[in-house]
Symmetry: C2
């Protein structure tokens, strides 16, 4: 009875706090209801392009917002104590630089009547506040209101890097899919699009240094990303306060390079025994015994560090297979002639070159955890380590003094739970089961990290959609609203101001609201439950006593 009783308050009416996802750091509100004038005007004290674009975008979003929270489906149109005619946005600077250090804080005041005021130090903080403002608006009887006015919000994120990774190589996604994903990310205050743009299976992105890569290994002429496409994605993202971090995963996952440069790649598509040489077919790794392979890798970094403008550049480094090299004739010949060399020293030399190339381009390197934990190489101290294999890799990373972005497969891999995709295999996959939104929500990136300096090294969280079993048809359903569950952890942390760890039971109605809001905005987010449950808070709990 306890849980249901605690939630009864939500049944009566959805108040401001129940509408915003992720939940703001501080929200106080009154008991009045304010109607939104159809002529609501958004204005700002800056003419920065990002803000101009956002005013136009949010004017349209707000004009169309028709969300009635499902739990309020029987509520009649309320009587309003006042009218809101405008939102004034005050930004401290018109600088449009977007980076890991960008201040995203904002304050928002919505009075019972008159003009709401949004204040932020940066245009990107203002974007976050605009999203919050748009989420305060609910619809009853065809009219729009903000309930629980006056509302006062002070908000800022807990983590600076709040990301979504999309693999566009196993299967291709049109640019429109990526832009829709960026829209959806902005609705959840996510700020990093980690573009796992190439992999063993295809090379969709244009290369001007190595044009054969795209020409030979994109899936089709209409399954490519041109320079112009990439620049369009980056500017679309920046307009939403989202950084684009590209990943060129090396030295593993490089079969695709062998389609153009077979001489640079070891264990090229070993069949049928690919499982001895790679995590999945087709096998192939850059040949670490060949200087030309490292030069190729450095050339790629040189080219793409110009195309991709973010300070952070991801060079992969996951799932490297030793046997691939141990059996390679060139590697064997090199080792035979260099008695102090081993596969491990060759790999460390390779990493030194590619991380050096990243530094040479004044970029900060980012890599999967294996580079730190499963190689003899010591990455530069500013390298951002993305952990995925083990949740304990997070405390281990920060204990070594590195910054960590948490992407544990056991909690944050959105593709898991779909069983095997190997043609002849009637069985599961290594990362089953499916990660429910509750499981994602309950993951704590700070678990087992108590030292405050180490906790600060946990700079981010990222969900990942690997695309072996996903393409344009399935993208939204895999991504949403589960990425939103992570987004609240990343923006709001695990606890409220009193230190109470939020539970899925407490936040479910807000997430229902967010799911239906996203569907209303054109995102194909999957349903969490029968609509009956969304309408009857507390009605679909597993009894715990």
């Amino acid at each position: 009875m306890r849980i249901v009783a605690a939630l009864v308050g939500l049944v009566a009416c959805t108040e401001a706090a129940a509408s915003v996802w992720p939940i703001p750091a501080l929200l106080t509100n009154g008991n009045s209801t304010t109607s939104i004038q159809n002529t609501l005007v958004l204005s700002s004290n800056t003419t920065a392009a990002v803000m101009k674009d956002a005013l136009s975008r949010y004017t349209a979003i707000i004009a169309k917002e028709a969300l009635t929270p499902p739990a309020d489906y029987k509520l009649a149109r309320p009587s309003a104590a006042g009218k809101l005619g405008s939102l004034a946005i005050k930004v401290g600077s018109s600088d449009e630089t977007l980076s890991l250090e960008t201040d995203e804080s904002y304050t928002l005041d919505v009075p019972v009547s008159g003009e709401a005021v949004l204040s932020a130090k940066t245009v990107y903080g203002a974007l976050r506040g605009l999203e919050t403002f748009s989420q305060l608006i609910v619809s009853y009887g065809g009219s729009r209101f903000i309930t629980g006015t006056p509302v006062h919000i002070e908000d800022q994120p807990v983590l600076a890097h709040r990301g979504v990774m999309l693999d566009t190589a196993r299967n291709y996604y049109p640019v429109a899919d990526i832009k829709r994903t960026l829209d959806a990310m902005s609705y959840n205050k996510l700020n990093v699009f980690h573009w796992h743009i190439v992999d063993a299976q295809s090379w969709p992105v244009e290369s001007r240094s190595y044009p054969g890569l795209q020409l030979n290994s994109s899936y089709a002429a209409d399954m490519r990303y041109s320079y112009s496409d990439v620049q369009g994605v980056i500017s679309y993202a920046q307009a939403r306060g989202i950084r684009v971090i590209p990943e060129f995963d090396m030295p593993g996952h490089m079969y695709v390079v062998g389609e153009t440069y077979p001489e640079l790649v070891s264990c090229l598509n070993k069949q049928p025994g690919w499982d001895q040489y790679a995590a999945e077919p087709p096998s192939g790794q850059l040949n670490i015994a060949k200087p030309a392979a490292a030069e190729f890798a450095m050339g790629l970094i040189g080219e793409y560090a110009k195309l991709f403008t973010d300070k952070v550049f991801h060079i992969g480094g996951d799932e490297v297979n030793r046997k691939c090299w141990e059996e390679d004739p060139d590697v064997k010949a090199y080792l035979a002639g260099n008695s102090s060399a081993t596969v491990e020293t060759l790999l460390a030399d390779f990493y030194a070159k590619v991380h050096g190339a990243v530094e040479g381009k004044e970029r900060v390197g980012m890599s999967w955890e294996e580079t730190l934990f499963h190689s003899e190489y010591t990455p530069p101290k500013d390298t951002i380590i993305q952990t995925w294999i083990d949740e304990q890799s997070i405390p281990k990373t920060v204990a070594k003094g590195y910054r960590s972005v948490a992407s544990p497969a056991a909690s944050y891999y959105l593709d898991c739970g779909h069983g095997s995709w190997l043609t002849n295999h009637d069985g599961g996959s290594w990362c089953d089961p499916f990660k429910t939104w509750m499981h994602i929500y309950n993951f704590d990136p700070w678990a087992n990290v108590t030292d405050s300096a180490q906790r600060k090294l946990i700079i981010g969280a990222e969900v990942a959609l690997w695309s072996e079993q996903s393409d344009t048809v399935t993208l939204d359903k895999y991504m949403w609203p589960r990425a939103a569950a992570m987004a609240e952890t990343a923006w709001s942390g695990k606890t409220d101001a009193s230190g109470h760890v939020r539970t899925t039971g407490e936040v479910a109605q807000r997430l229902h609201n967010q799911r239906f809001r996203m569907v209303g905005r054109g995102i194909g987010a999957e349903p969490l439950q029968p609509l009956w449950c969304a309408r009857n808070p507390g009605g679909c709990f597993l009894p715990t006593s």
Copy 2:
């Protein structure tokens, strides 16, 4: 090496047999290639409405067919030895009766040049042949061909009932979704739409006998099925050779009736301890101690046996909870006054009344397996038993002399593998894991049934999509192409003519073709693999040695 070598033949060219899903009983073909004239004319010797509609439908489908099998992505436009200008359809009867007994056989001959001929005893056999004909057509270099001509096909289904169940009560699906599902079913020669139209959570369908059911318990005014909608679905289905079997699930799953008639329902929405009274919330069963509840049930059957025209009428009977009644005051009072009565005799009496009502309307009853195995009632011998709990229920059903439709949850429940949907539950669900297409394909409905008379009692197979975690946003990806995997078992059986059990490795390329064909026809079927795998047959096998 064995498996890959065996598949190499598929790489060279996709021949007719590689294009048709489900695979025909007999297909012989030559080595020629025939081009399809843009002016291809379909004609028939009957003016039956079903055929007239099909000619127009398939003319459009064929005109738009642009499937290039993924494994053929590098093939140039072939040179054709002849041209196909027409398809003549010869039907033995213009009778449009559609039932479990309808003959769906056909023969199809496609010559190298000239006119193809499709012959069938019934218009529905002709529909199946038309679908096969449309699937022979592939596109290279923007032109359409049939490869491997002349083609001769003799085909008929192994199972008479090849179904898809959709639950439209946990979450609602617009009529357009149902019609699109019927389209997709026709592309896979499926012939039964089992409409699980109401359940505890909502009552979307109009009732003229009990109008409050829909008015009070549909989710919204725009989330309803009117009589006209239902009639539209039935006629749309019939035009595609698909029967519509409605299910009104009783006496369990009836909370929804209690929203209008609380006096007819026991254990109405027990909270928070619903798990003592029902498989999922909200709890509620028709009160078997009350004659009015049985009369209500018989009234429903009376009404809907008029609206739904198929001979078979499904009355549910699954997941009945004894405690719900044992604690019901009316049941307790009745039992106190009737010393020979028990909950089991009351339930058997209830079943006798509702099965009697079905017989009274000259319908054949269909029910979930519990009625046969977990009650003291003996259903009429013509009742079709749908098994789901245990795969061994199929041999048990036919050993008792009943006809069986196989829907084992462990293989055929399409919603499984999505984890718990209970608000506060960070865990799995009873029917995890996800059923991959390979798992579905490998299920054998005839396992452990050797007696030939008993094997004939296995009349059908049905996949089921329960909608706790699905709605209009996710329908297609849950359903397709996995329902197609079942469709091949149901149409073609488990073995080829030589008795060889087909393996997923052998059929994967055809299923890729079918998936891309369906996407081309507007069905959001999910991808099976990276496109690289679809293009490189044998490249994504799990090594078995």
